[in-house]
Symmetry: C2
Subunit: 946 residues, 2 copies
């Protein structure tokens, strides 16, 4: 990244802005300090590394050295200085405390502080409302040490030491007290600070914030009480924003705040109250409920972290900055940062002044710059990853306030991972674990240029990744026509059906008002690799008028207007948005090669056509885990034959149509076998209800009747008769094959003939035939017998030998529960996690638009179970099924896989690894992600079982 790009923009790209803003806006200009202390002055800024290696009296250091792993010997000790802990001490010190301790110990200049242990929290509930006896004395000893280190004094207005107080359990837990900043503040302290800093405005702003925060989190008052006072004051002054407020205004606010609250002036009393509030927050109803819900033991307790603060705006030799140890955008091994002299975080965020890159700092203070570089190096070596660092310089002395593994773009993640392996910093396994598999969409689809301007006008579900721009078009026929004329088209529908497939193929993207992540539109689009945003309830589509209303603004768009959709985020944007594309990135290929070395799970693709199959091979699929034979039924030349077959008056008529379909189907299959030579190809027998293939509009029905030479009324009646109340639970899957065995026979004949022809052409076909929607063992018995009989007959006719396998889908709870009884009739099985999720939850994927968004928003569900396997419910059934199959005779030889949409979801892939499945199968464009996720899962599994 070149200097032209601002840090704020970069943070924005990385999604970090909110956290940054959230934190610093509460603490403008103040950073945990020591300032001008005798110790600091004695050693000078240049030697802080050695200083900080042993900044506390030997006693504490020795104690830690003596008992580095055993916490028991420290049981009677309740207060820990930072350098008395390590990051492994989370149970004792809480997550926050342990991390601060770690930073201190590896030599980072962290403002000193102490932690009251989590065990003390439990003691508190015996002594409540008093603190456990002796605790105050104990932490006062720690405060004395910190006073000595900082040269300041807690409660002394002439040289005040201010603290932040935070809760922190071993497991991060919302619902507990978070933070009180600037504790130790009172009128005298504020006056002295205002004098010393020469910046009374932020002192009083900080003071009033302290009062509000303390009143809220410690005293339980509402934030609104204070907000209302401020609003009223600004109104009276006709101020438009906080920036209009001057030092005297904030001082006045402090006065007004103090009228409504009872924050004690005594810093010691403040501290005691804050510590008690942190402990008490462990037992609020919200925290208790959260623990119950997440199975967190009550006996963990919370720790209390008390840390001194630093100031970044103490003059020209002070400042504040943010840096990344490598470029988080490109991954280049070049540090990247920004610095603002005599400033605090608020100034950076508010954009009032523009920060410079670190060359400015280098020029001003080369020694400090060198120190910073040493910090970068130290941090990368210690954490073995690129770090995101916040630092403050106070009167020439550097303080690190936070360091964490830095967020990065997909490109940077991959480049860094590859380079760090090549530098010998990390292993391949670690490198792979560092990469967020979900981000890898970046390498597979053009993405929005992060620096481009965009206006989001609506948001729907991120149904199929990729970005698509085009003119709005409301029918599939027209989409096809316009596309042929060379236009970029965006197909907009209430929802799509089988009749829209040609339109979807022609369009640059698909936008639907209804339907979830696994609606027809979503599934078909993912299969095609076409961008799709589905379930976009912020638009209203009127098919008749060919308009799209943006509900946020009420604006009505018409045919021919241009929109852009991002299928990775669900965003709908105005006009055309600039894109970037990263194809065949060498680092990415390297990562995938490593993934292939390290994974155990076989990765296949869901592919229905020869084109899909080719794409799947290119992207590394090792076979086809699901080929939906019915998808070969679409296309203008075929669909009418399918309809003729469905509407046949009797079996003889149906057989005639099936014979025509046989030719199409066999040819597609032969080509798929040739593309997938040497790899297994699983054809699933016809699954959807027949009604799905038929038109519904009277004029379409009449036209169809004309084409196939039947009476329109009879055809309409027959279509009506095939209607079902809940087609998802009706005559489909193997039920269809049992009702019309001739359809299954045709499909099996096509598979076997196709394989024999491919073989004759020198390919190595590996056919597998899969029977869908089995719930009862007898269904599989009858259906598999039909497959074997038909295949056997073809092979006998042709006097040929061919290996083929017969298996089933595990996609209904009953099948999973009784997998053991299905096992004898199957050579393989595939979890259809879409259908299994539907039936386990009782959620129709076509109708979840009505409640799923609310469920996710209100956290009734943590995740969309159609995107990520629901381990607690669906996962239990899968586990029972795996045990059932593996426990049956020869069960270990029966390949088990997943072919629902979740097969390309990293979390789900990890669960498949845990279950010991043999493969996952997903849409072709997700294959690279699944390959990476499979490797990550294998590495994690190995780690966990070492």
């Amino acid at each position: 990244m070149k200097t032209g790009t601002s840090l704020a923009a970069l943070l924005c790209v990385l999604g970090a802005t909110e956290a940054f803003l959230g934190r610093v806006s509460f603490l403008p200009g103040i950073r945990n300090l020591p300032t001008d202390t005798p110790v600091a002055r004695k050693h000078g800024p240049g030697i802080f590394m050695s200083t900080l290696k042993s900044p506390v009296p030997d006693t504490a250091q020795t104690q830690h050295a003596q008992a580095p792993t055993s916490l028991h010997v420290r049981d009677s000790k309740r207060v820990y200085l930072f350098n008395e802990g390590r990051k492994e001490d989370k149970a004792l010190l809480g997550g926050k405390g342990a991390n601060l301790a770690e930073m201190s110990n590896i030599g980072l200049p962290v403002p000193p502080g102490f932690i009251i242990s989590t065990a003390t929290c439990l003691q508190y509930f015996d002594s409540e409302p008093n603190l456990p006896s002796g605790l105050v004395e104990e932490y006062m000893t720690a405060i004395k040490i910190i006073e000595a280190q900082t040269g300041k004094e807690f409660g002394n207005p002439e040289n005040p030491l201010l603290f932040s107080v935070r809760s922190g359990a071993a497991i991060s837990m919302p619902g507990m007290l978070d933070t009180v900043l600037s504790l130790g503040m009172n009128d005298e302290v504020a006056a002295a600070l205002a004098r010393k800093s020469g910046n009374p405005r932020w002192v009083y702003d900080t003071y009033r914030r302290f009062l509000q925060m303390f009143s809220n989190v410690v005293l339980g008052m509402k934030m609104e009480v204070f907000d209302d006072l401020l609003v009223a004051y600004k109104a009276s002054k006709e101020y438009r924003s906080d920036t209009d407020m001057q030092a005297t205004d904030w001082e006045e606010m402090v006065r007004r705040y103090k009228e409504v609250t009872t924050v004690p002036a005594d810093p010691h009393e403040q501290l005691q109250l804050a510590i008690r509030a942190v402990f008490s927050s462990w037992m609020t109803p919200r925290a208790i409920k959260y623990r119950q819900y997440n199975d967190i033991p009550e006996t963990l307790g919370t720790g209390v972290t008390v840390q001194s603060m630093v100031f970044g705006n103490m003059g020209e030799d002070s400042g504040t900055g943010v840096a990344f140890t490598r470029n988080p955008s490109t991954g280049e091994n070049v540090h990247f940062g920004e610095y603002l002299q005599n400033a605090c975080g608020e100034d950076v965020v508010a954009g009032i002044r523009t920060p410079e890159d670190l060359t400015g700092l280098k020029a001003q203070n080369p020694q400090l710059y060198e120190e910073l570089l040493r910090v970068f190096d130290l941090l990368e070596k210690h954490y073995r990853d690129m770090q995101d660092i916040e630092f403050t310089v106070e009167k020439g002395k550097l303080y690190v306030l936070q360091c964490r593994s830095g967020k990065r773009t997909a490109k940077a993640a991959v480049t860094m991972a590859v380079e760090m392996v090549e530098e010998g910093l990390i292993s391949k396994e670690e490198a792979l674990l560092r990469i967020d598999a979900k981000q890898m969409d970046f390498f597979l689809h053009p993405t929005i240029d992060p620096s481009a301007a965009k206006t989001v006008v609506a948001k729907g579900l991120p149904a199929s990744p990729g970005v698509g721009t085009g003119v709005l078009c409301f029918t599939s026929d027209e989409a096809e026509v316009l596309a042929k004329e060379g236009q970029d088209v965006l197909l907009v529908r209430k929802e799509t059906t089988a009749e829209d497939v040609h339109g979807m193929k022609s369009a640059k993207g698909v936008l639907t008002q209804h339907g979830g992540m696994t609606s027809h539109a979503a599934v078909v689009a993912r299969g095609m690799g076409a961008p799709c945003v589905s379930g976009c309830h912020e638009i209203e589509v009127d098919n008749a008028k060919e308009t799209l209303t943006l509900l946020r603004s009420g604006r009505v768009l018409h045919k021919g207007d241009t929109l852009t959709i991002d299928g990775s985020t669900g965003e709908v944007m105005e006009g055309k948005v600039a894109l970037i594309r990263s194809t065949s990135d060498a680092d990415f290929q390297k990562v995938l090669d490593w993934a292939d070395e390290l994974r155990r799970l076989r990765v296949k693709a869901n592919a229905d056509t020869p084109d899909d199959a080719r794409k799947a091979r290119e992207l590394g699929a090792e076979g086809i885990g699901l080929s939906r034979t019915e998808h070969m039924f679409f296309g203008p030349a075929r669909i009418d034959v399918v309809r003729e077959m469905i509407l046949a008056n009797d079996k003889a008529e149906r057989l005639k149509s099936l014979e025509k379909l046989f030719v199409f189907q066999k040819e597609d299959m032969r080509e798929i076998f040739s593309v997938m030579s040497g790899f297994p190809v699983t054809f699933r027998l016809l699954d959807p209800p027949l009604h799905e293939f038929l038109p519904s509009e009277p004029k379409d029905i009449a036209a169809l009747a004309g084409r196939i030479g039947k009476d329109a009324t009879l055809v309409a009646n027959k279509i009506k008769a095939l209607e079902e109340v809940n087609p998802m639970l009706g005559l489909r899957g193997c039920r269809l094959g049992l009702a019309f065995p001739e359809i299954s026979e045709m499909q099996v004949r096509a598979v076997i003939h196709a394989a024999l022809e491919a073989k004759a052409q020198g390919y190595d076909p590996r056919p597998e035939i899969m029977i869908p929607l089995v719930s009862v063992a007898k269904e599989l018995e009858v259906a598999s017998a039909l497959v074997h009989a038909t295949a056997g007959q073809v092979l006998e006719e042709k006097k040929a030998v061919l290996e083929y396998k017969v298996g089933t889908m595990l996609e209904l709870p009953r099948a999973c529960l009784n997998a053991r009884s299905l096992a004898p009739m199957m050579e393989f099985a595939s979890f259809g996690t879409n259908d299994l999720t539907q039936s386990t939850f009782g959620f129709s994927r076509d109708d979840i638009g009505g409640f799923l968004p609310r469920y996710l928003e209100e956290k009734i569900l943590e995740k969309d179970p159609f995107a990520t396997i629901d381990v607690e419910g669906v996962g239990q059934l899968m586990r029972v099924a795996v045990e059932g199959v593996r426990g049956a005779e020869g069960g270990d030889d029966k390949a088990l896989g997943v072919c629902g949409e979740q097969g390309g979801d990293p979390k789900s892939v990890q669960f498949c690894e845990e279950l010991g499945l043999n493969s996952v199968s997903c849409s072709p464009f997700r294959v690279p992600i699944a390959r990476l996720a499979a490797a990550q899962a294998a590495i994690l599994h190995k780690k966990a079982h070492k």
Copy 2:
């Protein structure tokens, strides 16, 4: 039963005809014999009782006495005479053999025979194709004894002994060799028999049947080969039926049969081949598959039963008869039988001659009649139940060929059970177990008079028991009008919807073309106790033309034609059929009182209205397990308010409509509480998708829009928007309550207000509020919090105290799997086995008409899972859920029940008992059945765990 009723008609009523015909038509005139033997002659017919008490040499008798229970000491023994076994020896002798042995041993005159043990079968597979060494010698010894007993000789044409040979494993198993009759037949034997009997016609008929049967089951030839020969012969002779065939014709057939088969003439060779065939039949693919499917161990093996035969048409002192020890129709303790002199079974069945009742036999042969009475007495005392006996008299000597517990009508079953308890013959427990709970419909609904003529014109699903006759009517509005005019109406619909409820109420019965056992029509009809036949695919309903086409005949019926439906059998009959009714039968009441004493499960009713509730109390329900609050929404005064509420533009408008509904709902609830005072009443919050309440026809929509003062197009659009692809899996149940909390709030307020009012009136209301369709713990958390908050608010307002419970439905796989996490938020739970069956199988109850009938017919499913709980699938989930709830804190105090339709099904009730549930709930008219079934389940459970 009086003498006027024929035995054939009676058997027909009892469903026994088919078995009877099936057996005797294969063996016309021949019954296992001895005939004119020295032994028989010496003792004479009068003394057979003592003779048969010790009919075999002492050695065998002694051996049995020495080792009555241990089979090990008999391991080396392979051939058992009948009196060497007992009915407990099924594992050793097979079921058939053991029963024949039992009959011999209790002193019944059974034609002698022997059994080759099941263990020998396994030896055979080592010696195959030869019989195990020494076996022939061993069974020849047994044959010698039988020859001595019968005075006949196997293979001797002058005095031939004929055998039947049957397979028989410990568990009855289709797919194995069944029976070869008249083995020992050949040309010489036939000639001698023809001479001796003076009836060459049946001798040669028997001979040709033997040839055909032997060729088929032993030699593996097709039956058709022989049938074709017979057809061709009859055609050449211009015979119309077998009765035209004379002795010489059958002799000719024997000649022709022998030309195509290779049945050996040597009886000993015949026997060896037949025994080998029985053993081999154990290992046919069909038998192996059956065993795998039913978990029957292969090591059981099959036994071979070889029995001598008797003849009923040896002259005037011979004959054949059937008798019941009590009247199987009324239950009266008076024997009932029929006898035909000098005849065989075929004559009885063919109806050529009319059998007389036993007074004829009494007159002809008083001594033999007395013997028969002693047999009746002996059998009843031994089996402690009414027996159905087949007997043959050969030359004055009585032989019992079969005895079994007799089939009986519902009335007879109850009367016999009560009388036998009062006679001291059986205990109350045994009495209850004897009664088929399903048959008890007889006491609750008028039933078809068994003696009435009826013409069945179509058959559908037996959706709601009872018989209804009426004129066909195709709309609910017209049904209501005609009913008010005093006509009996039969409502005929393609399927019913919420809009048909008033028509269903007015009709004497409901007949639908579509829909399963749990379709709207079925569920609502059962709730009303109205007869219903649903899913009748043998009719085609045309609503527009108001016609019903009988597809069997193609006949078209019109409005006003009369049909009768039987909702217990699914039969649709022409015109009006005569009915009988058994109300408040004293014996039945006694049985129910005993059941109440002995059952553990509480029996509640599913009741939605005060009328339902009253009916439920009358029939003994101890509370309401499911009150579907939405059913209170129907009715002309209410449905429009409901629609207004659904179509409201905003929450304010919706609240206004809800306020009106509150009044209706509260009043219904108050009345239900008063009827059910002292018993728990469970109200389920609104469950169905809102779309179900709305009209679908444009003219109805327009009318509605007018009534509620809204724009018709807007209303139509809103209705369209509420449409779902799979409403069963859509926005319903708790999802609805979470989307529109104000609806749940209104319902909860209504429950609490109603309970308080009922309490003020002196009743004892016990409200329970149930949250439907939960799949995720958080749903229940939010929904139950809303119930508690609303209830608490009402109680606070009213300053009242009221106990109420909150619970949930367990009706989705995910809820069952995670019941433990739901437990903290529920005080009770009810399995909704309808929905649970739907989701576990992936079967929509609305659409199963398309495949369930075929599934049941082809035995893909053994039972309709919507009628009887599927223990292997749904039952597993229920078990997991019970364990989950019971394992949670306080889990034992949380009442668990079933409220799906299966709650009234005896087998399902038994499963509920096994699971340790607290209650079952079913439609009011099934309550007595459930009470009886619950008692039976408790008795069986006690027995099994003793």
